[in-house]
Symmetry: C2
Subunit: 145 residues, 2 copies
DNA sequence: CCTTGACTTCGAGTCGACTCGAAGGCGTAC
DNA sequence: GTACGCCTTCGAGTCGACTCGAAGTCAAGG
């Protein structure tokens, strides 16, 4: 079998490079049935990925980075295989995940507000020279600084 | 020993309620030396938390929810015990964490953009009736929908 | 033919932060 | 005095998603 593949198809090393997912992870994803279409094999039994699968992996990657579980991705992939009839359920899954992502954003933003507040407090402290009032309680600034 | 404590001090059940952290978690945090000041005990050996400790736990909670590790929180708590001399290092820790939170926000936002894009696509699909063109590839819309 | 290197399968190990449950102590209410 | 409920310590278990490593296969290059 050829050492290079006709362009839209590639082996695991390139798929790994393209997606930022390790080869181990790519195999794991196949085993977990996360692909919409089966991963093909060449004569040597090596995996061959299509461009479409790379795009799908990039989507998976975004879903993962926003906290979607492999369970949910698997379900979504199943629905993809189900064709147009499953569009409604796919939509629902995405809507649900969208809400989770918004919740996470809000949570992070709330934390960021606290962090910034403390940073500002410390910046002021440090500007005041090596002041010894590090333990004061200003308004809205209960001690755990 | 009294069944209720003088207001600013409370036992684990109330501390749990106030902070949203389970009693198990509160004990675990003490064991992990996450508190700035030692958790006191009453005559029966029960933990007694101060209002200040509740405030600190609320801060820890925000740090945790934004992904700060217990290791980093422990370090921060140590620095708190070190007094004013450690303000600079505390500032640095917060700055570093701030950046991580901003990175997470950006990552989530990028994922959200993809999700919204797909949601809009599906919404359109569904509006067009049960169209059978679910597999089309529009511009900027490579197939893994 | 032999080496090289990219690949294969398989099973086991890792990670942090909880989370749980068993066994027991203490003080109050009845 | 005994039942109750809240607390204690301790050690073990859980979770998902990797991550690793051993042992083996295959094709091409020299």
């Amino acid at each position: 079998m050829p050492t290079t593949l006709t362009p839209p198809r590639m082996r695991i090393a390139e798929a790994s490079e393209r997606t930022g997912l390790s080869g181990h992870t790519l195999r794991y994803y196949e085993q977990e049935r996360l692909f919409v279409n089966p991963v093909e094999r060449d004569g040597a039994g090596h995996r061959v990925f299509s461009e479409e699968q790379i795009q799908w992996l990039l989507v998976c990657s975004k879903m993962r980075s926003s906290g979607m579980s492999l369970d949910h991705i698997r379900r979504y992939a199943e629905l993809m295989r189900g064709g147009p009839a499953t569009v409604g359920e796919r939509y629902e899954i995405l809507r649900e995940h969208e809400q989770k992502v918004r919740d996470q954003l809000a949570e992070l933003q709330a934390a960021l507000d606290v962090i910034e507040h403390k940073i500002a407090f410390y910046a002021e402290q440090m500007a005041e020279g090596t002041a010894d009032q590090a333990w004061r309680n200003g308004p809205n600034c209960s001690s755990p600084i």
